[in-house]
Symmetry: C2
Subunit: 131 residues, 2 copies
DNA sequence: TCTTGACCTTCCAGTAACAGGAAGGCGTAG
DNA sequence: CTACGCCTTCCTGTTACTGGAAGGTCAAGA
């Protein structure tokens, strides 16, 4: 299969697929004319990458997951540990975003939002204490 | 003031302060020896940047906010609109993260996490239907 | 006076994960 | 023969810095 079809099937842009080759994640064979030729196994790897990336794993994490994917002896505990760590990371990000939201919401609530210049949001950014 | 003291006061690394000069956010005067010399106004701008960046605004948003900060005629509505938009953005990110977490948690829950190779997480990534 | 150490300067490279675009080869249908 | 779509490589740009090298400046101490 050529890159166009693989792109369709995997849901990854051709640009991304070429990039994955660059960083040695999926290295297809080459046809005589220089075109990339993807075997079934390559397509599986690309689909795997599409799914794992979409779930928030970094490229390096995906590289590790791919090696576990292809290691028929791996312990499921190893995979689960990575997933749980990622869940923790997601939780941290959510907390941080919630905290930001809380602060911004409080500021926005105090701001009249009219055509006058007085603005508690700007005041806060400027380090002025709200009186 | 030299960059070191300004760094202390603003809570921004010297590297970052130099970078902000590079992108023309805060352009201090220069002493005869070539050292950057920061006036009060510059320090205010840097503090403003520290605070607005820490609340999740991008550099370009901060640039806009700074111009509003220094425009004594601005309408508070303009500032509030930016804050509300940012809150929406944060909400979108939170939703996305929650969705990721949900998917990952479901996969992790189904995974025994033992020393056997069978792993529902890997199976999902590989596109295998769970039976 | 010399040296040491802290502080300052500029410049270059790297980060994450691609996306956009230019210039040009290949393949097939009309 | 040409047009068009698909393919190739290569270079640049994105975001917001961070790390590090090479070297100038300044004040204090021996």
């Amino acid at each position: 299969m050529n890159i166009g079809q693989v792109s369709e099937i995997s849901g990854l842009p051709a640009k991304t697929i070429r990039y994955y080759e660059d960083i040695e994640l999926v290295t297809p064979a080459r046809a005589e004319n220089g075109y990339r030729h993807y075997a079934e196994k390559d397509v599986h790897r690309l689909k795997f990458l599409q799914r794992s990336r979409s779930l928030g794993f970094t490229i390096e994490e995906c590289r590790l997951l791919l090696s576990l994917y292809e290691d028929k002896q791996r312990a499921s505990a190893d995979v689960k540990a990575i997933a749980l760590e990622k869940i923790k990371e997601i939780d941290r990000k959510i907390s941080e975003l919630k905290s930001l939201k809380k602060t911004l919401s409080a500021l926005a609530k105090n701001c009249h939002g009219d055509n006058k210049p007085e603005c508690p949001i700007i005041n806060d950014f400027a380090g002025r204490v709200v009186e």
